[in-house]
Symmetry: C2
Subunit: 145 residues, 2 copies
DNA sequence: TGATTAAGTTAGTCAAGACTAACTTTAGCA
DNA sequence: TGCTAAAGTTAGTCTTGACTAACTTAATCA
């Protein structure tokens, strides 16, 4: 099982996300979501197909294989963990958090993400949110005593 | 001023780091540090030279221009901020922290890094390190109450 | 001072990942 | 049912960033 490139992870994540409602994705939706040309999607699907992550028949809907579903869920999980950290802990604006999560999700190790998630939980779990509020205020650069 | 690619940022950071002691860097040291062939360094230096970040004469030492020094310092700063966060807050092992910092330093926005730095400070500044210790224990996955 | 070795460059190749233009298939409707 | 528009694919190109092999320049030491 070779590692997926950041680019292929993005495609897989897009397929995963778009598949949620109906169980399949269309290449044109992937193309629109990732802001990438249709031929690029086509090529990427061929690669993901060759790796056994999507089930691709010519001109048909894109469906994830069980392995693809698992991998897609993992990537989407990394994304939402990071986005949550960026908004809930660092207080980044929604759009910015989304962008940062998109890029950082390919960069951090499993271990770092796991611990970052725990840190999030820890900070959110303090009594009555007092600590989190203090941390967030600090992080926003207002007061930090 | 166009954005540098992750790859070019790595080269610039390496030149910056290697320049610290003596004021210049050698292509062979860069090659060894980044684990990349000498021709790759050569090509990268030509690009950085064209962007006005290094002062490159054929067969000579590599020196940063003032702009290159500024950009290099910024990249190195991002790196050390992240590495510190990964070790001091998340408790990652040194080597792992280094690897994660290398990759994440190209992915996070200025804003996110700024806030991450403040979060580090905040967590380290709590009285007698009690909070930090608790956070770190939690992040390591032992207890988290 | 000249030969040898280390450092650096050039030339040529490759793969990934993007694009456009042009073609094919599918699907929907008159 | 057949035509048309949308969806998807193929073919061909480009850029980036890496590599090896072979060459050139610089530096060192006998």
């Amino acid at each position: 099982m070779k590692e997926l490139s950041p680019s292929l992870e993005d495609y897989l994540e897009a397929v995963y996300t778009l598949s949620r409602p109906e169980g399949f994705a269309r290449a044109s939706r992937v193309s629109a979501l990732l802001k990438v040309s249709k031929p690029s999607v086509s090529a990427a699907m061929r690669t993901l197909g060759a790796r056994g992550l999507v089930d691709q028949q010519r001109y048909a809907c894109i469906r994830l294989t069980p392995a693809g579903l698992k991998a897609g869920a993992e990537i989407a999980g990394r994304h939402s963990l990071l986005k949550d950290f960026f908004t809930a802990i660092l207080g980044l604006e929604e759009k910015k958090a989304e962008q940062d999560a998109c890029r950082a999700e390919h960069a951090l190790s499993r271990e770092a993400l796991l611990r970052l998630g725990r840190l999030s939980l820890f900070l959110k779990a303090r009594p009555r949110g007092a600590l989190l509020a203090a941390a967030r205020t600090c992080v926003r650069g207002r007061t930090c005593k």
